[in-house]
């Protein structure tokens, strides 16, 4: 299945990615946590940003979700640090 990934703020800057399209194996149940683990295998920087000490938040289709949220085909998934607006 195909998903769209977005990165913001510190993650975007450090990973040097703001957006990418990604294909995930069809026959598996994908969650946010599983996706993070997959991306963390790309290298130390990815592991630090997504599975390290700094908190990372995720949204699926513009809704804040936790690590157990299920991912579906066509989803837009965003990773970002805790927000600091206002």
């Amino acid at each position: 299945m195909n998903i769209k990934l977005l990165y913001f703020a510190r993650l975007k800057e450090t990973l040097k990615f703001s957006t990418e399209d990604l294909e995930l194996a069809e026959n598996e149940q994908w969650t946010v946590l599983k996706l993070k683990a997959l991306l963390a295998k790309r290298g130390d920087t990815w592991a630090q940003m997504l599975m390290g000490k700094l908190k990372v938040r995720a949204a699926i289709n513009h809704e804040l979700v936790d690590d157990n949220a299920a991912i579906s085909d066509g989803d837009e998934i965003a990773f970002f640090p805790p927000v600091t607006g206002g």
Binding site: A59, P81, V83, T84, G85, G86
Partner: protein, 155 residues
């Protein structure tokens, strides 16, 4: 009784707080109270002099998140209308960042709803601040635990 309105704006431009409050006030003659919050860029943060601030956001999600917060405020309190304006881009100390304004018949509802919207905006709306210090260094602003605590009060 006309339908309740709701406005959320995310913009580069500055806004006119007095004008926005007047618009909310004048909308209906049964409005007795308008409570507003204006946030502005401070020249110091965690002990360092800030020369400017850049606000990034997640276009598409931001508007939905703010509208969801306002809708929740409207379901909890008997308010007439609410407005949220949040700026993005590069700002300097004394620049306005955000306006939250709420109109209602009586003051208690407007106070609670306005503070609720600000507390939720701080933890749920996808904005990120990067500050440029006078020293020349730049850094991402860290989220504060006190904002999580403020939000928890409402749950």
């Amino acid at each position: 009784m006309t339908a309740k309105l709701m406005t959320v704006r995310v913009q580069l431009e500055d806004f006119d707080t007095g004008h926005e409050i007047s618009q909310l006030r004048a909308a209906r003659k049964d409005i007795g109270a308008v409570v507003s919050f204006v946030g502005q860029v401070r020249d110091m943060n965690v002990g360092d002099h800030v020369s400017e601030l850049t606000l990034e956001h997640y276009q598409g999600m931001t508007e939905k998140a703010l509208e969801a917060i306002v809708a929740q405020a409207k379901s909890r309190w008997d308010i007439v209308d609410a407005l949220v304006i949040h700026r993005i881009g590069t700002l300097k100390p004394l620049d306005q960042i955000v306006l939250v304004a709420v109109s209602s018949a009586h003051r208690g509802e407007a106070f609670h709803a306005c503070e609720f919207v600000m507390d939720y905006l701080k933890t749920d709306a996808p904005f990120w601040k990067k500050e440029m210090l006078q020293s020349g260094e730049s850094r991402w602003v860290e989220a504060k635990d006190s904002d999580d605590t403020a939000r928890e009060r409402w749950t």
